[in-house]
Every structure is written in C-alpha cells, then in structure tokens.
Symmetry: D2
Subunit: 380 residues, 4 copies
Amino acid sequence: MNLAGNSFGEFFRITTFGESHGSLLGVVIDGLPSGLKISEKDLKNDLRLRKPGGKFVSKRKENDLPRIVSGTFNGKTTGMPLTVLFDNVDFDPLPYEELKYTPRPNHADLPAILKYGMDNFDYRGSGRFSGRETVGRVTAGTIAKKILALKNIFVASCLISLGNNEFGSADFDSCIKARKTETRTMQEWENEAENIIENAIKNGDSVGGVIQTIIKNVPPGLGEPVFRKLKAELAFATMGIPGSTFFEIGEGIKVSHSMGSEVMDSIEFKDKYVWNRNISGGIIGGLSTGMDIIFKVGFKPTGSIPRPYRTIDLRTNESKTIIIKGRHDPAIVIRAAIVVEAMAAIVILNHAMEMSLIPRVLGKEENEIIEKNFKIYGDS
Amino acid sequence: MNLAGNSFGEFFRITTFGESHGSLLGVVIDGLPSGLKISEKDLKNDLRLRKPGGKFVSKRKENDLPRIVSGTFNGKTTGMPLTVLFDNVDFDPLPYEELKYTPRPNHADLPAILKYGMDNFDYRGSGRFSGRETVGRVTAGTIAKKILALKNIFVASCLISLGNNEFGSADFDSCIKARKTETRTMQEWENEAENIIENAIKNGDSVGGVIQTIIKNVPPGLGEPVFRKLKAELAFATMGIPGSTFFEIGEGIKVSHSMGSEVMDSIEFKDKYVWNRNISGGIIGGLSTGMDIIFKVGFKPTGSIPRPYRTIDLRTNESKTIIIKGRHDPAIVIRAAIVVEAMAAIVILNHAMEMSLIPRVLGKEENEIIEKNFKIYGDS
Amino acid sequence: MNLAGNSFGEFFRITTFGESHGSLLGVVIDGLPSGLKISEKDLKNDLRLRKPGGKFVSKRKENDLPRIVSGTFNGKTTGMPLTVLFDNVDFDPLPYEELKYTPRPNHADLPAILKYGMDNFDYRGSGRFSGRETVGRVTAGTIAKKILALKNIFVASCLISLGNNEFGSADFDSCIKARKTETRTMQEWENEAENIIENAIKNGDSVGGVIQTIIKNVPPGLGEPVFRKLKAELAFATMGIPGSTFFEIGEGIKVSHSMGSEVMDSIEFKDKYVWNRNISGGIIGGLSTGMDIIFKVGFKPTGSIPRPYRTIDLRTNESKTIIIKGRHDPAIVIRAAIVVEAMAAIVILNHAMEMSLIPRVLGKEENEIIEKNFKIYGDS
Amino acid sequence: MNLAGNSFGEFFRITTFGESHGSLLGVVIDGLPSGLKISEKDLKNDLRLRKPGGKFVSKRKENDLPRIVSGTFNGKTTGMPLTVLFDNVDFDPLPYEELKYTPRPNHADLPAILKYGMDNFDYRGSGRFSGRETVGRVTAGTIAKKILALKNIFVASCLISLGNNEFGSADFDSCIKARKTETRTMQEWENEAENIIENAIKNGDSVGGVIQTIIKNVPPGLGEPVFRKLKAELAFATMGIPGSTFFEIGEGIKVSHSMGSEVMDSIEFKDKYVWNRNISGGIIGGLSTGMDIIFKVGFKPTGSIPRPYRTIDLRTNESKTIIIKGRHDPAIVIRAAIVVEAMAAIVILNHAMEMSLIPRVLGKEENEIIEKNFKIYGDS
C-alpha cells in the first residue's frame, strides 16, 4: 500500500506522476512479464481515444506522444519497470492565474487548498487533479489488454447515455466498434450523441453520461470472497477516475428495486456452465462466474462551463462572481471511456496473474497469439 | 496488501476469519491507538442490529456474544491487535447437504467450486461467503465509530427504499433514529416497510433495497487525489459487502444524467466554507469538502427463497429442479445497514489517522469526550 | 501493508495476536491453496521444538495445544483463512507486578511505555513483546514447509555457536538431525552445548548463540532485483524475531573482509548450473541461484537473569536496584531455531507462489507427494 | 505491496526505474508533505558521494544531473509525486556484448537469465541489477534527510573497515566529516584507506568493506513490536542494496557470542532516559529507545575484476574462460555509504510519519528550521 495513492495494482502495478501544466507526465508499470513485444506504436491507438484537440473535446493541442524510456530491450519487456513519458506541449497556465484565490465550486480547488496549503496547490489546470493524469493509465491499460489478449480476454467500454438520453445497452461487438465514432457511442446512436454535444457547446453547457463496460472470456473464479470481491476491485478502480459518480455491477440498480422472485436465475451446462441471464454482471459472491463481466460507471458533466458562478475570494472570504476561461470538454464522459477500459483491464490482469494464468516469461508463440488477438481493438 | 483479501485497511486494519457453520468467527483489529476504553458491552448495541433471530430477519438463533481475547489490559486498548471471537451456536448444516452437487444460481456456490475445487468448498451456509462473516466487520466498525467520536465524526446508515418503493432521502437525525426500528427505516416509513417485508414472507419471496449513509463533521481534505479518492475507498469498502449491487456518491446517478448548467454549485463562507447544496456528496476531486459525506449502496433481494429453481447436478451436468431450505432473510438489506455503517467508519478512520487527526495514545480526557459523544448511537 | 505490523507476507500471509499472559494466542493464515490436508497432529512436531517446560528452557508449563478453528473442511484447507488458537494455561503474572514501575534495561519495557503510555503497557511477561508470540509463527511455518515439500524444498535451522564457542558449519542432513537434540545442535556438539547451558543455569546466567539455516532445492530466479531481494526478505523476516542481533547471507562477514580475487567464483554445468562454492549463500543479485540458500542469524542471551540490575522508578525517576523473578530461558537461541526455520519457509513460499510454482488447488496426488516428502522433518 | 519490488516505503514511498545503459533513470517519491522547499541544487551534495568518475571509483563519466519534473510548484513540494530524472550520458554497452552468453559468476547474470529468459536480460552493465539504480535512492534519501532535519534527526554513514583492515568505530561527528574524504572514512584513516584501494587497483583486484551508520535524535517508540521491528525494517532496507552481505544492529555479533551477565545494561534518568551503554544499537523490542541508532552493513568486493574466471557458454553449456572488461569500482563500498545513509533515512522518516511526528504541510517556519539544520551535511 502506498498511502498517498499514486500507485494502483499488485502484480501489474502502475504509478503515475506529473501535472496538467508541468513539463511532462508519466507512468511506471511494474510487474510486467518479460518477453512481451511492445512498441510506442502499440500505444497510440488507445491514446488517440483520450487525446484532446478533437471536434467534441477540449481544444488543448497535445500530441500525447509516448516515449518508452525504461523496461524494454530489443523491443520486448525485460520484467523491469517500464516507464512511459509524455511531454506537455500546449500548456497555457494564464487563464488559471485569476483562479488562484477564487476556487471553482465544482472542482477540487478548495478541498485541495485546505489539504495542501494555499501556496502549495498547483492551480494551473488543477495540477494533478486534472484528467490529464489519466494519460498514463490509458497507456498501462493498453499493455494490460495486450497481455490479456493471450487468454482471449477483451475489454470494451462505450457510452450508453448522455444527459437524460439513455441509448440503451450495447453488446460487446458494437461497444468495440464505438472506438471508431467520435462520441464513443454505438454507431446507430452516433448522430444523436453528436447533436447533444453540439447543442451543449452552442449553449455554453456541458453534459454528463454513463459508460458501459463488457469484459469477455474471463474464466470463472477470479476475485476473492471477502474484501477483494471482483466487483469491489472494479468499483475502486473506476470510482478513482476523475468525474465518476456511480458504479453499478450488472443490472444492480434494477435488482435492488426488485423482489427475489423476479431475479431468480438458473444454471445450465452448454460446454461450460452458463446462467440463463446475466443480471449479476458476471460476478457472484465476489468471483467471476465465466459469463461476461458487465458494469456501468457514471460521469458528471464537466465542471468548467463558460457561465458565471459564485464563490469566495480566499483573501477576504467575501463572495465573488467568476466566469471560467480555459479550454474544456463539453462531455468529459467521451474521453473517460478509454480510461474506464484501461482500469478494468488492469484489475482483471492483476487477478489473472494472481491465479497464475499468465506466464512470467512470454516467448515467440505467446507473442504471436497476442499480436493476432490484439487486432480486435483496431489497427495501431 | 494481502492477496487473498481477508484484511481491510491500513492504519486501522481488520482481518476476519471463520465460517457460517464452523465453530467460531472472529476479527483481529490491528493499529488501534492505545488507551481507548473498550468493553464487550460497548459492542452489543451494533451487533444487535446485525443479529439474526428477529421478526423480519433469518430465524437462525445466534446470540452473537463478543469475547475480547487479546489487545486490552485493564479495560483499555494496548495498541496491540484486539481480537474478538464469536462462537457459532445454532448451526444446522443439514439443509445444505443436498446442495453439495446442485449449486444455487444466485449464490457463490458454482464459482467457488470452480475456484477452490469441488471437495474444498464448504457448502454449509456458503461457508465464508455467508453474510455471517460480517459479524466481525460490525464489531470493528463500532470501535472505529468510538474513536471517530473523539473528533465529533458520526456515521449513520438507514434504509431509503425497499423493492420498488422509494421512501425518499433521510437526514442524519432520522437516520440515527432508524436504529430503533426493526426495519432500519425512518420512523414515518416504518409501517410501510414492515408491510412490504411481511408480504414478502407471506409470498415466499424476498426484497431488495437501498441504504443511504451520512457521515457528519468530516474535516475537509481527507482522501487522496488519484487512485485513493475518498469515494473510491468507500466504493471498495461497500461493494465488498455481500449482496451489494451499486454505489452512488451524492446524487451521482442524477448528476450523470444532467447538463453542467443544472449542477453548477456555489461556495460561501459561513464560519467555514460551505457549498450551496451537496449533490457531490461531500467529496470533490477525491477529497472531503467539509460538507456531510453522503452515499448510497444497493442490495439485492436474498438469493435463497423457498421456490423451485433450475440448476445442474455437478456429477452429471444434467439439469435439475431444486427448492432451497434453510433459514433466510426476507430482506437482507435491513441487516446490511449496520455493515455499511461499519465499513464507512473504518474508511474514514483510516484516512483520519493518515492525516494525523487521531492521537496515538488516548488518555482520560479523550476517553471522556468519546464516552459522551458516542451516546449518539444509543445506550449500550 | 498493515502499518502496525502484526501481519507478514503477501500470498501466504500470517497475522498473529495474543499476549504472553492473556487468555489465548493465535494466528490467522490467509492465502492458502485449497485442498491441502492439514491436521492439528501435523502441527505438534514443530511446536514441541519451541515449547517451554524442558530441561534447557523456561520452566513455564504450556502444552501449546493447537486448535484449528477455521479454514478447513473435512481435514483439508478451503482456501479461506485458517486460524489456529493456543490457550494460555500456566500464566503467572505475579512476578511481574513489581516490574510495573521499574523497566528492565534489556527488555522492551521502557520504549513500550514511552510509545503506548504507562497504563497501557501489558507488563505481564512483556505482553506481546514476549517470545510467546512466536507460537503462531511456528505453526504457520509448519504449514508453509508442508506446501514447499510438494516442490522438494526443505528448510533446516540449527545452532552453530553458543556464547564464544563456535561449533562450525552444519550441512543440511545434520541440521535436520539436530531436531532430535535438546539443544538443537548437531549431534557431535550436543554434549558441549549441554555443558555450556548447564553452566549458565548454575551461574544464574544466560548465553547467546547463532542459528544457521539451509534451504534445499530452491529453484533459480526466486526474489526480485531491487528492494525485494531474496536476502532482504530473509533479513526482514528474521530480524523481526525477538532477540535477533545480526543477519548474514552466506559467508557474508568473511566476504566483506576479503579482496575480490579471494572470492571469485566459477560456474559449471552438471545437469544444472552450479557454482564452484557457495559463499554468496545461494542468492546473487537478489535472486536465488539454484544452490542451497544459507544464512545465519544471531540471538542475544536472554535479557532476564536472576542478578541485580540498575534501573529507574518511573514514578520518581530515581535509580533503583532490582532482581528479576519469573521463569526464563538460559539460552533463548535454542527455541529460536524453529522460529527462524518458520520465517524462512514463509518467505520462500511467498516467492514461490508469486512465481506460480504452487498450484492454487491441491488434489490427491499433490497431497501424497507432500505427505511423503514432509516426513523428512520426522514423525508427527 | 508491489510484488515486483521496485517501490519502497509506506508514507514516503519511492519507486525507481531505469537501466544502467538505458536512456535515463529516475525515481518517483510519493507521500511528501506539501510546502517543503526543494531544488535540484539541494540534491547534488549527496549525489556527488555516489557519482562515478573519481580517483577511487569507476571511470564511467556520468554527471548525474538531477531534473525535477513533477511534484513541485514555485520551488516547494505540492504533496504530489515528485519525480527526478537522470539522463545516462556515458553508456558504453560494447564491453558487455561478449558477456551475453557467458554469465559472470559473481553477478546476477545467470539467475536473471533463468528468471526472465535469455533474450530478455539486459546484459549491458547488468541493466537494472547495476548499482546505477541507486542514484534515485540517494536522491530520495536527501529529501528524507531534509524532512528529518525538522526534528533534529540526522543520519551519517561511513566506512569502518576495508578488506581485513578494521578501522574501529566512528562517532557521529567523524562520520559526518567523512563526507569530505574520497574514501568516505574517518579522516585519521584516510591515508590507510587510500593505500588499500590504490593497491587493489594496482593488482587488478577489488576490496570489500563495512559501513557503519549512526542516526541521532530519534525519539523513543519508533518501530513496531512484531514483524515491523525497527531493526527488521533497517535490515530489509539495507540488505536490498546491491552487494550487501550482512546486517548487524548495535554490537550484535559480539552480543550473540556473549553471556547474559556480560551484556546487562542499566537505565538512568538524565533529562531523558538513558542506557549506560548502547550495545543494542538504540533499538530494543523492535522500538527505538531514544539512544543513537547504530548499525553496520557489509559489502562484498566488486565482482568484476580484470582477471580470468571460468563460466559456461550458455549456447553449449561448455566451460569457457573469460576476462571482464568495462569500468568498475575497486571498492564499491565507498559509494555504498551514501546509499545506506539514504535507505536508513527513508526508514526512519516512514516511521516518524506513521507516529504523526511530521506535519503534513510545512510552512515558512518549518522550512527555516530545516534549512538551518540541514547544513550539517555540508554546503550544497
């Protein structure tokens, strides 16, 4: 355990560092099997899904170019900590200067100042509270997904609601295909999603949303019975993403509003043991059942919108009305999808390694299986 | 970290052990400050709220009598691990014998068998997957609440919905008063709650529900910015309770379905910094804001109801229809309330200790404050 | 990590609790593979080697009868925390009453009082600072050795010096045979060892000593390159035993006083890779080499001897001369041997599990191998 | 816990990454109090003591210029992970190419190859097994010592033996002054130490040695009674340094060869409680006593010396005679001193933070005390 909490995981353990407007950000990934082929090119596909600068996301221009600076040798992992750095190129702390004494009510500003001291809070883009920190998580998630591909385990996260518009549930294939849309929704909802966001931009507003995640081919028995239930681990991992508001396993909200007779399931044997339906989201008693793991995570609308809000001036404690400048996302939930996917992959990989499912050394054969299976996420 | 996951917490760390139908259950609490007055009598008040044997709960008769067997000296903690044992008295494994080969679809049976091996699963009352394991958590929670009382920090959990009946939100005082009801609801909803449960019993059914928790007087700045966000820690702690289905911080579900303009808050200074409303549930950027911490946790209807269900016989993999016997809860959510309260108290205490808010040695004066404040939970 | 430090290990994780003169002591062992045959009878052989009441050890009469109260089903482990309790039967706090205000200079008394507070220190037999705490470690060690026996890995600790008498180095077989002596030395040194201890008893004195440990058949590659070097883990585990004074890997003391040319080794291939000699004690670069792991741990003479010593009276801070009563060991090092053996086994097992060398579920075949190999430690 | 073990500590937690002949090395320091003044200039003084390129050390030319790339704002810590990078400038992998198939017997080569796979071992300068990894530890140690200076706690490590020449014990002041010598010995032994090393260089040999460490002004009560004894933590920290061979607390080796009557101490009160002598090295029962903490760590002679050695060719398993090239240290123990000092500081700081001795936010006043006290280590 590290108390300050910039690390996550046991076997596959990541440590992130760096600030939104500092010189660079990075991630150290410890506990990798040796022999895994990995290149900077592998990392770009997922990074693109998190990158600012697009039509529906923040206008900040960052190329998010990964630099692998340790842990590989001749293009393969050595089993040593693999470090990836990202230089910040388009930081512009100016709009934040005036925020120094006027904390934004929907941001970490005030609690951070009260915790770390007025002069020690890096108010430039929220410093480390910024979503920019997640660039390292996404990178680690890509590598976790590569390793899981060896066992045919795949993770897909996509958007299933925006504001008060519920698009409905997505299956694994359409969730994967949503990687190709700019709003990270299923293709049939793409137009609607774009309209909602364009309207939000036009109105100087932002919009919340919900991400659904499906994890395929997880063998039964991952997770632990008591405190480390697999649902608890996924909840911890995803409620640790900036802006997250709720975690639901399977059809959990509906289930909690049901009678027992409505949610009774049955088990059959068809090559493997299967449940008649999957309202528990693939986890029972804290353990994976062998069914798809399905969960949802909500995200709030971006806190920064170009409208006046009331706060206090910390020098006088008097009230003051402020309008936030800077470049912000109309719907941060779009970029959150790949972060949820990454955190889910890291959790599953940790439990798979704990169960001895992943060899400690990967050879030619394993790398070939990985390369083949990993194509499911698209060309890199 | 212990990988098998029967421990929880960093400073105040609990380890639980024992099975539903074994000889005893217990909890080891490590990291206590020394000098805290504690007696078995202190523990009974909360244990009563979890105990089976009542009108609306399982008919199993357990007195849940706590025995403190280590860690105290002359009625006060020594700073050494405090261990509490609970003898099982009314175990009746008989009804479970026929379940050995026919796993119940809404229970951990099948994934546990697949993980640990057919012959190694203690199918008597689900062994350690049973809610009976939580007796130790509740006890640890009581002690955590005693220590938090030194800083005027209080935790209250109560029921705010049953099946598809939403009772609405409860404030702190009515949530505390719900300790006196048999359904753990606010007093004005007591009759309705009792009717719902009586109907469920009559129909051989069970019912799900939602627990709301309010934590008062948490100072600002508890929690950590990245992976150990306070909401993530609470989600981990509560999604690790058997039967939990979702975790929501503040008004998180509503917020995720909102526009940014609908959820913009403001800050004022009134003796301390306050937000105009508390839809974020007292946690922003992963840190406590100084407002009440509020979250909800859903629980599924008890999986065991006296109705036929389809499963397989593990010896042949052929389908079979079964009716579960044994003594079960019509609404496990009632007894889950005190478990949620316990886990929340443990999380907050760990973060308070990390911030050096709790003295490592408690003297006469601190014990007097604690005894006085602790009365809020009722006479023990 | 638990900060208060009553737990040890990652996969195979033990938590001990209980005081020297409390009602009972215990150990919770978390992370066991399921399906391992285990009985209370298995535990007695090692416990006998730690038990007080013999000719050369403390006269306290404890039967150290283990009671397994959780974690097994039909005589096999379930994968759930296995708890073993030991009732204290012959506690006699009387001799300690007068020590309350006059801390013994060679014991934890004064630092413990300064840390936990005068009134909170359980001065009866040092409470939890007593060597009595190790009863749980020995029990966990026995189980660890059973599991390691599956892989032909064996651990043997024995005495190689007493006071200023160096008996010389012992090989694995003679170290194992030392289990049959009352002084835990090689059989050819038995008389000499007995004489030294009898003299110490006669003179109202005590004597220090050194334990050597040999671990056979550890495969190469266990351990980690940086902070978790295998030698660092063994040093942590053994310097955490009461009374330990130094840790030496291989011929480390001699090596540090040598020139490089004197300690150059060579490697050959004879079925496996072997070094010409083993001055590094089977660990290079923090990793096991495949050679025997060999290390030494020193223990101080028992601090309590029936002679006057000077201390202060804590009520006045004035000097006072005291004679310690109570029942003490003339050479605690004799009983420490099995504790070193236990801690070494736990470290090796943790690293073996981390490397996926131990199946998570043990079946009939594995248990047969274990039962056969485990006989090396003698009949239980 | 991270299993792969590239992190150390709980509150003040460091993670190191990077290889001897990779592009850069680095350290992430997590858990810092906010508000601590820190600059790259502060770091150079200690780094100089570890740097290669001097008269008595490896000829590799590295400037070891630290770059702080995260975790500070306006020259002070923010409480976020502080990352320091070191670019490798003078790497020369050529001499290592021929070692690829002929592992050096006194190096990690062969166990590393067996653990990670032939093709995945970065044999260039031992990759991450190289002492070059410690550059990050030294940097973290400097910052730990700065924080400890607030409480007047100081750490000094120096050389007290070289080969079979024992220089005798050093007191704190002479140990600090040894920072000014090139051999890191007390000034009166400087000539002798230089002669020994010059002779070793002349003979194409290397020499082992012993480091003594003294920690001043540690308050009583640091450490934990059972597994996390302070001596166990120091042993773990220092036996995790490359080349370490033994750990001795106080006069531990002598004590283990003594009779109890020879090592009986007494306590007096002189402003604070003091022992008549300090053979236990300031730690009793695993807790600091308030006396100086004193321990010794041995280091082996550098494994690489320009003499022929026998090993096998991994392609054929046939024997082969090799002479090592590359630039190596005649006495690695000289450069190890500052690493021991760093690890000791990190251990003590972690326990001090656990005891709430260090404020979480440092202000002007604390920084002034720190700056003043920190001068004890010399001008930076």
